[in-house]
């Protein structure tokens, strides 16, 4: 595997310990009808209906009817919270297999034929964990792949760590890998493991006999666990027609559970971390668990920002209004910036954690992580070409150059600068001393280029149709002339 470049681990306080806390049955479930990839537009239940655990509440008609499944039995309430489905008066008993025990049939025995296995994964909500490594979008259940990239390197602060996810479940994990090998009809499974992972040796022993499974060690630096980086580092990116799947630790475990014990994929092991969390841990929750109930008595301070996901790519949620969505891997809570500090730019910065070397804290590495808040940490300025964004970029593009071309409306130049390689990790925005929103610029640039390509395609199609029409008219005219002659 080629060496990865760039990347950075920020010293953010509140890293979740690998202790896993079981959450009690909540008072209700608040199920979001939209997440990053899915829009559960087709609601299958009615207001006031009593449903049992495991019922399909809604599906996404645009994506292979991916289901939204009830983790607990309860009474359906629609329209109580915008864009959510509520389940009230929940049953106490969780659906079977929620505990995810390690006692299951070997692969093949329970899963039946290929098509059966795929149907089961779709109906139990485990299929959406499989994404296309290039587009990061769920793959079609009919599709197959030559390679599967399994990333156990989750380094964004803070999402569930592989160490917590795999504690006591390595056997299930390996069975999940075997399922993936079968699903791809003999495809190669590439497992990326961080160089500081505690389970690496044991895992290597368990998969030693599988020639189709390869273990790759990755430096534990954000965002080196990103499937697209691993894909390129393995040299699999050169042939764009070769399909490659990507899946993360939780997905492999969900697939194993669905195929071995037939349990629906409603359980989530999430991280709860950040400087505003009193005791950062991992939590065992279910999809739709109300976020305010998760955070109750677990925060220090009132004026906080709750982020679904990590601080680089997550989005803020309003705790009272939402529950865990199906794709959530963690909740990060930050204090909102509330006060001004005098001459802070001129302070030595003993406890500041910075990418560059301008703070005294650099002299004593390994100090306590910083209690960063939501401060922009400076004023918006013009780019001074310091080069930090170029330095930190894991895909080797030049964010500052792209930023300048984008704002000069030179889209062709932006395209030439290979903005398509961006994996939207957000490090360029993080390190920029001028506080330029480079991540937004990269996203805007990619969107503009996509739109331009689509417009161009449409134009070409239109031109082609017109040309055909013209030719047809010409032929008709010729035929007419011939007829008159």
């Amino acid at each position: 595997m080629a060496r990865l470049k760039g990347g950075y681990n920020i010293g953010l306080a509140g890293r979740p310990s690998s202790r896993v806390v079981d959450l009690p049955v909540p008072s209700r479930l608040v199920l979001p009808l939209a997440s990053r990839c899915f829009r559960f537009g087709d609601i299958r239940v009615e207001e006031g209906a009593r449903v049992s655990a495991g019922t399909v509440l809604a599906t996404d008609p645009t994506r292979f009817s991916a289901p939204l499944i009830a983790a607990y039995g309860g009474t359906v309430r629609l329209d109580r919270v915008a864009d959510h489905l509520i389940l009230e008066s929940l049953d106490e008993a969780p659906p079977g297999g929620l505990s995810g025990s390690d006692s299951a049939a070997p692969p093949g025995a329970a899963s039946g034929s290929q098509a059966d296995a795929r149907d089961r994964l779709v109906s139990l909500g485990a299929w959406p964990f499989i994404t296309d490594a290039r587009t990061d979008l769920p793959v079609d259940p009919a599709a197959t792949a030559n390679d599967v990239i399994v990333s156990t390197v989750h380094l964004e602060p803070f999402v569930a760590s592989a160490d917590a996810l795999l504690k006591g479940r390595l056997d299930s994990f390996v069975r999940g890998l075997e399922h993936l090998h079968e699903l791809t009809q003999g495809g190669t499974v590439h497992v990326a493991v961080a160089d500081d992972a505690g389970f690496a040796t044991e895992l290597a022993g368990l998969i030693a006999e599988h020639s189709w499974c390869r273990l790759h060690t990755v430096v534990a630096r954000y965002p080196f666990g990103h499937p697209l980086l691993i894909l390129r580092a393995l040299g699999l990116g050169r042939d764009p027609k070769r399909p490659v799947w990507a899946i993360r630790t939780a997905g492999v475990l969900a697939i194993e559970r669905a195929l071995s014990s037939g349990a629906p994929g409603v359980e989530r092991l999430i991280a709860l971390g950040g400087p505003a969390v009193s005791e950062p841990v991992h939590l065992k929750a279910v999809v739709g668990y109300p976020i305010d109930e998760i955070l109750e008595n677990r925060l220090c301070g009132d004026d906080v920002r709750v982020i679904s996901g990590g601080i680089f790519t997550g989005s803020d949620v309003s705790p009272g209004q939402s529950g865990l969505d199906a794709e959530c891997e963690g909740l990060t809570v930050l204090r909102e910036l509330g006060e001004r500090h005098m001459l802070s730019f001129a302070m030595p910065g003993l406890s500041r954690s910075s990418y560059g070397r301008t703070f005294v804290s650099r002299l004593c590495p390994g100090g306590p992580p910083e209690r960063l808040n939501t401060s922009l940490a400076g004023e918006l300025r013009a780019c001074v070409s310091c080069g930090q964004c170029i330095d930190v970029c894991p895909v080797g593009i030049l964010p500052s150059v792209i930023h300048k071309f984008l704002h000069a409306d030179e889209i062709d130049e932006v395209e030439r600068m290979r903005v398509d390689l961006c994996i939207e990790c957000g490090l360029c925005s993080y390190v920029c001393p001028s506080k330029i929103e480079l991540l937004s610029d990269m996203c805007d640039a990619r969107r503009l280029i996509r739109e331009e390509h689509e417009a161009q395609k449409k134009m070409e199609l239109k031109a082609k149709l017109e040309e055909e029409k013209r030719l047809a008219a010409k032929e008709a005219l010729a035929a007419e002339e011939e007829a008159t002659a």
Binding site: I10, R232, G237, R238, I307, I311, F312, T313, G314, S315, D316, T332, E336, L337, R340, H341, M342, L343, S344, F345, A346, G349, S354, Y355, G356, R357, T358, F359, R362, E370, L372, N373, T374, S375, L376, A377, G378, E379, R381, A382, V384, S385, C386, G387, G396, L398, V401, M417, R418, G426, L427, S429, Y430, V431, P433, S434, K435, E437, L439, S440
Partner: protein
């Protein structure tokens, strides 16, 4: 601290639109932002940001300059401080007027330009010329290009070139004889000090200054450049904290040594003498490394530094000028966009091959 914050909050309405001093808003904002960190929160991912900002970025250069400034006061008197103040005042006035006119914020770039500019002038230059040069450098060298971050040339060097072409006699006469002893001229204003030829000028007529004198700075020359020791201390600081790019410095000094060795057929004394004399070290650490007027790519910085190093050696030895750093760096600035185009294109092509 609370008191100042309350005062700022209380007087804020006076400077807002419709307030009595609305026209002075840029000054108020600059003072407000200088004294206290802003209350701006992140509005999108990433939700936290690195604590380094442009103000701190620029301030590190001021810290790095401190040894040179202290050495300058020691050798050339308190007059140096007056030059720095005048430079800041004149450059600042232009910056403030333009900010008021454009209704924009005042930029931190002035912190560096205002300090660097007097340090590359003869210590005996009349103060009004310092003011004129500083104002010209900020206006033409920076603001006309669109402000900090958009200038093609180093603004301080633009100011110096303007003075060198407009007042050649004054610019070649103000070489004050450095103070001697432990105190030097640190306690005098040094208006009536004797002037003399710079080591590089004297060398043309065959008088070579002693190496220790060049190293410690006990010779005449531009305000901040004479003490190689002070420049090296500040320069090392800038390289260690990563604000100045070491590739530019290494390429510039490396090629200068090679070309000088060629000219003096490898005479080590001549090489070290040229390395320590004039503005070479000051230019290498503080002027050529200006990120805005340098090329962006690290690979391009090697070529950029080499162009400046070679040009300096050639100008010093084969033209009518005794000193070549200023023109060499400006020449490098001219090359920077072309180097960017070449090296960025090559870099992007490599990305394509990687897939």
């Amino acid at each position: 601290m609370k008191l100042i914050l309350t005062l700022l909050d209380k007087t804020r309405p006076l400077f807002q639109e419709g307030g009595r001093f609305a026209a002075l808003k840029p000054i108020y904002d600059a003072a407000d932002a200088f004294l206290f960190s802003p209350l701006t929160r992140t509005s999108r991912a990433p939700h936290v940001r690195d604590p380094l900002d442009v103000k701190r970025y620029m301030s590190t250069v001021i810290i790095a300059i401190a040894p040179c400034l202290l050495a300058a006061i020691h050798f050339f008197g308190l007059r140096v401080l007056a030059m720095v103040l005048v430079s800041y005042a004149a450059g600042g006035a232009v910056e403030v007027l333009l900010a008021m006119f454009k209704k924009e914020e005042i930029n931190e770039g002035l912190l560096v330009t205002g300090m660097l500019f007097p340090l590359i002038l003869p210590p005996g230059l009349p103060l009004w010329m310092v003011a004129l040069g500083s104002a010209f450098g900020v206006l033409v060298g920076k603001e006309l290009f669109g402000g900090t971050g958009r200038n093609l040339f180093n603004p301080a060097l633009i100011g110096r070139v303007f003075l060198a072409l407009s007042y050649p006699r004054a610019m070649s006469a103000g070489w004050i004889e450095p103070g001697q002893g432990l105190v030097g001229r640190a306690l005098e204003y040094a208006t009536d000090a004797v002037t003399m030829a710079t080591p590089l000028a004297a060398a043309k007529s065959g008088t070579w200054a002693a190496l220790p004198k060049l190293f410690f700075g006990n010779v005449t020359g531009s305000v901040g450049e004479t003490s190689a020791l002070a420049v090296l201390i500040g320069g090392a600081f800038l390289l260690i904290i990563g604000i100045a790019n070491w590739r530019t410095v290494a390429a510039m000094l490396g090629t200068f040594v090679i070309v000088t060795a060629g000219i003096y057929s490898g005479d080590p004394h001549a090489i070290i003498w040229h390395l320590l004399s004039g503005g070479l070290l000051f230019g290498a650490f503080f002027m050529a490394t200006d990120p805005v007027s340098s090329p962006i790519m690290n690979s391009a910085k090697w070529v950029y530094g080499a162009i400046i190093g070679i040009a300096t050696a050639l100008i010093r030895n084969f033209t009518g000028y005794v000193e070549g750093v200023m023109f060499a760096i400006l020449l490098g600035n001219i090359f920077a966009p072309v180097l960017d185009e070449l090296f960025v294109t090559a870099h992007v092509r490599r990305l394509r091959e990687e897939g």
